[in-house]
């Protein structure tokens, strides 16, 4: 592997090849929880995109500006969690005043993002892979867009599930099987990021 992955490959890698939901199995709670309807899935996906990119940038600044100079790198998980919770709260406060309509649409999904493990994972992986600030933002954007893509596809797919599914498999089981087959398809992207 080259030491400096170029931005496009980094984006494609996070978006398709190492898709956070389908290849790394992160963020499965919203993936299974709010995809029963398309409008909620879309709202959740875009709220997450916003928070994810912002918190990844903030985590980078905190890590390299505060933790590393003081030799406190081992505190990164705790600090990142606080940063994510902070970003979510500020986003909510800002939205409530700036755009009440959007705030109403996103509603309860905003606070739920705090517990989305994909958001924390992006911040931690960016540190682990020693990405620069720009690369961190590209990586986060790729992860977020990949999340939006599979959330919207999966929500539409779930609406098509037939009532003829054997009773033991209705609901979550057949949804998980569908997600598995989707992940199988995404495995075909292996290698396009090199």
């Amino acid at each position: 592997m080259a030491a400096e992955p170029n931005s496009l490959l980094l984006l494609l890698s996070a978006l398709l090849v190492n898709n956070f939901v389908l290849a790394q199995f992160l963020g499965l709670c919203p993936f299974m929880g709010v995809t029963a309807r398309r409008d909620t899935a879309t709202a959740m996906a875009f709220a997450t995109t916003f928070v994810l990119t912002l918190s990844a940038g903030l985590s980078y600044l905190l890590y390299h500006g505060l933790l590393v100079p003081f030799g406190l790198g081992y505190l990164n998980i705790i600090v990142f969690i606080v940063a994510i919770a902070g970003v979510v709260q500020f986003t909510e406060l800002y939205l409530r005043h700036a755009s009440p309509l959007l705030h109403q649409v996103l509603g309860i999904y905003l606070p739920l993002i705090t517990t989305n493990c994909a958001v924390l994972a992006v911040a931690l992986l960016a540190v682990q892979q020693e990405l620069s600030l720009w690369q961190t933002l590209v990586f986060a954007a790729g992860a977020a867009l990949g999340f939006v893509l599979v959330m919207i596809m999966f929500a539409a797919l779930r609406e098509r599930l037939s009532a003829q599914v054997p009773r033991a498999f209705q609901g979550a089981p057949i949804a998980l099987i569908s997600a598995g087959i989707m992940a199988l398809g995404f495995m075909g992207f292996a290698g396009i990021d090199t």
Partner: protein
């Protein structure tokens, strides 16, 4: 419509003729020219493989139908055999029996019966079964008969030719003219069989045209007259690997492609584009199975998107670029 009952939607999607069961057997018949060429060029091991796959598929389907309290006669509606033949064709001749069985079980059992049987599957059963064993046992599936083309398919050769230029690789003796021997003849035969499907209206021509046009366009745009970095000409991509089989027999499964006419164009284009992207830039030599699964997963979204778009604005052309 977004609010339509999914069950009605699924059954309504079968073209009127395909609903009468025996017409599904026409699909099997249309596969025969291609199968004949494959048996002729790659050896009679194919016949055994296809027979075993067919028998397995019908048994698994019968067992599932019995367990669900439905008529076992449905297992002979021809659809299980289509799935079995597609899986048998995709796997290299003489593949281990357990790999073949797993693929058929994954196709008929997992991708079709668990979703509610014929007309309710969200993904193409044959491609689910094939992709399942392809990612699980890549070594088993990479072995093609030595006398046919020295152990590698043309796509393998192009994918792994070191510094050879595309023209050099193509003009080497083991290669044919367009898609590599014997693949160009196999693809021509599937093209001929596929035309029967189009004439009988068992396959939507928009899907087929979308696949071939997008694949050809993507190949033409990146073709640089055969240097060592070239990804191959449109002609090569049309007549190699599983192109014709996918375009005519797999992507056209009426249940798993969109229902709106524009959705069908986009679906076909998505399949063609993904085949090219995976062939040219991915690590798998042929991407047809993955391309179809990904497009299947996108089909409901395409339907929603085109059905709602049709009412307000007729713009729908920028979608192609997003995926590349």
């Amino acid at each position: 419509m977004p609010g339509a009952n999914p069950t009605d939607l699924a059954t309504a999607t079968l073209p009127p003729k395909a609903r009468s069961a025996h017409l599904l057997w026409w699909v099997n018949l249309a596969l025969l020219p291609g199968i004949a060429v494959m048996v002729f060029t790659l050896g009679t091991a194919y016949l055994w493989q296809l027979a075993i796959a067919g028998a397995l598929a019908v048994s698994i389907e019968s067992a599932c139908l019995l367990a669900r309290g439905q008529s076992v006669r449905l297992a002979l509606d021809g659809s299980a055999v289509v799935t079995a033949l597609l899986i048998g064709i995709s796997l290299p001749p003489g593949v281990s029996l357990w790999v073949l069985s797993l693929a058929v079980l994954g196709g008929v059992g997992l991708a079709k019966q668990l979703f509610g049987g014929l007309g309710h599957n969200l993904f193409n059963p044959a491609m689910v079964g094939y992709a399942l064993v392809l990612v699980s046992f890549p070594a088993e599936l990479a072995v093609w008969p030595a006398d046919a083309i020295t152990g590698a398919t043309p796509l393998d050769i192009i994918s792994h030719r070191q510094s050879q230029t595309f023209t050099e690789a193509v003009s080497s003796e083991q290669f044919g003219n367009w898609g590599g021997l014997p693949w160009q003849w196999i693809n021509l035969a599937f093209l001929a069989g596929g035309c029967v499907l189009l004439v009988l209206r068992l396959a939507r021509w928009r899907v087929v045209a979308g696949v071939l046009l997008a694949l050809g366009a993507a190949a033409a745009l990146t073709y640089d007259a055969g240097s060592s970095l070239s990804n191959g000409s449109p002609l090569y991509h049309w007549f190699t690997g599983a192109t014709m089989l996918t375009a005519f027999f797999v992507a056209t499964d009426p249940v798993t492609h969109p229902q709106s006419t524009r959705g069908q164009w986009l679906f076909g284009a998505l399949v063609g584009l993904l085949i090219f992207v995976i062939r040219a830039y991915g690590s798998y030599p042929d991407g047809a199975a993955f391309a179809v699964l990904l497009a299947n997963a996108a089909a409901p979204s395409l339907d929603h998107w085109t059905l709602t778009k049709t009412k307000d604005e007729p713009e729908a052309e920028d979608k192609h670029e997003d995926v590349a």
